[in-house]
C-alpha cells in the first residue's frame, strides 16, 4: 500500500500528468490557451505511429508465439463483453435510458490509446518489460465494443427507428484512421525490425515523452472545456460509474491476462486497456449510429472522468497489482 501510494505520488508529479492538469485548469479558468486542431491531430498521428512502430520492432526482436494470437482473441472478447457489463451497471446504478447507456457502454469496451501510451511510459521509466504485441491487442480492442453496443440497442427493439449498423459504418469503424495507423506502423516496425528503428529512433523514441506532454496538455484543455459544458450532466451516480467501471474492467482484464500468462508489464497493460474508455473512434461511431444518444454524456464521462482517473490513480494501481500478482 505504501509502495502504491509512493508510486502514485511519483506518478502525479511527472511532467505528463502535470501538463494534463495545466490544460484542465486553463480551460476551467476560461483561458484562451488552445492548441490548433491540426496540431493536435499531428501530435496524435505521431504518437500512434511511434507506439505502433515500437511495438512491431519489439515483436520482431522477441519473436512471435502462440500468446500473440490468444492475446488478440482475449482483447476482442474483452472489448465485446465489457460493454454488456457497463450497460447493466449503468441501468442499475443510474437512471440512464437504454440508448445513452448503450452509447456510454461502447466507450468502456473500447480503449484509449493515450492511456495505453502513458502506461507504457510509466512501465519504461520503472524498467518493467512488456510484450510488444500489446499494441496490436489495443488495436483489436477498438471496434468490437461498438458492435456490442449496437446489438444492445437493437435487442431493446424500439419503434424509434434506429438503423444502427450498416455496411458503410462497419467499414468506417474497421478502417478508422487510428486503427489503420496503429496496425500499419506495427507491421512496418515488425518488417523493418531493429534496423528500421535505428534509422528513425531519434524521431520516434527520444522526443516521445515530450510530445506526449503537449498532447496531454491538449487533452486537458479539451477535457476541461467538456467539464465546463457538461458538468451538470454528471450526477453522482454517473460520476461513480466513471470511476467504478475502470476498476471492474481492470479486474476482468487482470483475469484474462493471468490466464494468458503475460509478463508483469503485459498484465498491467491489459488492465489498462480494459479500464480505459475510448474518446476518438467510438464517439464518432456513436454520432453516426446512435445520433439520439447524448454526446456530452459519453464524452464528459470518458474524457473528463475516467481518463483523468486512470492517468493519475488507475495506472499506478494497475502496475502495483500486476507486480503483486507476479511477485514482481
Amino acid at each position: 500500500m505504501e509502495q502504491l501510494l509512493s508510486l502514485a505520488a511519483e506518478n502525479l508529479i511527472s511532467p505528463i500528468i502535470l501538463c494534463f492538469v495545466l490544460g484542465v485548469a486553463a480551460a476551467l479558468a476560461r483561458s484562451d490557451l488552445s492548441i490548433p486542431e491540426a496540431v493536435a491531430k499531428g501530435l496524435s498521428i505521431y504518437l500512434l505511429f511511434a507506439i505502433g512502430f515500437k511495438g512491431g520492432v519489439s515483436v520482431a526482436a522477441h519473436g512471435i508465439d502462440a500468446t500473440l494470437g490468444l492475446a488478440l482473441l482475449a482483447g476482442v472478447v474483452l472489448s465485446a463483453v465489457l460493454p454488456l457489463i457497463a450497460f447493466a451497471l449503468l441501468r442499475v446504478m443510474t437512471q440512464m435510458n437504454r440508448l445513452d447507456a448503450a452509447a456510454v457502454a461502447a466507450h468502456y469496451g473500447s480503449i484509449s490509446i493515450v492511456t495505453f501510451v502513458a502506461a507504457t511510459s510509466v512501465l519504461e521509466s520503472r524498467g518493467v518489460a512488456y510484450e510488444g504485441f500489446m499494441v496490436a491487442v489495443a488495436a483489436a480492442m477498438e471496434a468490437p465494443a461498438i458492435l456490442s453496443a449496437l446489438w444492445l440497442v437493437a435487442k431493446g427493439g424500439g419503434a424509434d427507428g434506429n438503423k444502427g449498423m450498416d455496411s458503410a459504418l462497419l467499414r468506417e469503424i474497421m478502417l478508422n484512421g487510428s486503427i489503420v495507423l496503429l496496425v500499419g506502423s506495427f507491421v512496418i516496425g515488425w518488417a523493418t525490425g531493429e534496423d528500421g528503428l535505428a534509422e528513425i529512433s531519434s524521431f520516434i523514441v527520444s522526443p516521445f515523452k515530450g510530445v506526449l506532454c503537449l498532447f496531454l496538455l491538449d487533452m486537458g484543455l479539451v477535457a476541461g472545456r467538456g467539464l465546463r459544458e457538461g458538468s451538470k450532466i454528471l450526477r453522482p451516480a454517473v460520476l461513480a460509474f466513471g470511476v467504478l467501471m475502470p476498476l471492474i474492467g481492470s479486474a476482468i482484464g487482470l483475469g484474462f491476462a493471468m490466464a494468458l500468462g503475460l509478463s508483469s508489464g503485459g498484465i498491467a497493460l491489459m488492465m489498462v486497456l480494459s479500464a480505459s474508455a475510448s474518446y476518438i473512434a467510438v464517439p464518432a461511431a456513436m454520432r453516426v449510429a446512435l445520433p439520439e444518444a447524448n454526446p456530452s454524456l459519453y464524452l464528459t464521462l470518458s474524457l473528463g472522468v475516467t481518463f483523468p482517473f486512470n492517468l493519475t490513480l488507475g495506472i499506478p494501481l494497475y502496475v502495483a497489482v500486476s507486480q503483486a500478482v507476479t511477485g514482481g
Binding site: I35, E37, K41, G161, I280, A284, P291
Partner: protein, 103 residues
C-alpha cells in the same frame, strides 16, 4: 452580365455525416457542391468548438450547393433523409448565377 435564377442550399451537418450527405446529394442529381470548414457553433445540443479536437465526433461542416430551381425538391428530399435523425440546419435561398450551363 447575363445571370440565371438558381437556388443556394446551405447544409450545416456533423462532419461524420459528410460523405453520407454528399452521396445522397449526388444520388439526387446534384452536379456539384462545396464543403466549408466550421470552427464551432451552438444550438439545442450545446456549444462546441474544434480547437484541439482529435476525434471527428464533435465537428461540423457546411455543404453549399447551387442548383437549378427545378431540382430543389429532389435535393431537399435526399438531404432530409440524411439529416433527419441528426443535428444540423438546412437553409435555402434564391440567387443568380453566371454560366448557368454548369448547374
Amino acid at each position: 452580365m447575363q445571370t440565371h435564377r438558381a437556388k443556394r442550399v446551405e447544409i450545416t451537418i456533423e462532419a461524420v455525416m459528410q460523405s453520407r450527405l454528399t452521396d445522397a446529394l449526388t444520388k439526387a442529381g446534384v452536379t456539384g457542391y462545396t464543403v466549408l470548414p466550421v470552427l464551432g457553433g451552438s444550438g439545442k445540443s450545446g456549444a462546441w468548438s474544434r480547437s484541439g479536437q482529435v476525434s471527428r465526433a464533435s465537428g461540423m461542416v457546411q455543404v453549399v450547393c447551387i442548383i437549378k430551381p427545378e431540382r430543389l425538391d429532389d435535393l431537399l428530399g435526399g438531404a432530409f433523409a440524411v439529416v433527419e435523425r441528426h443535428i444540423g440546419v438546412v437553409s435555402v435561398s434564391d440567387c443568380d448565377v453566371l454560366r448557368a450551363e454548369r448547374f
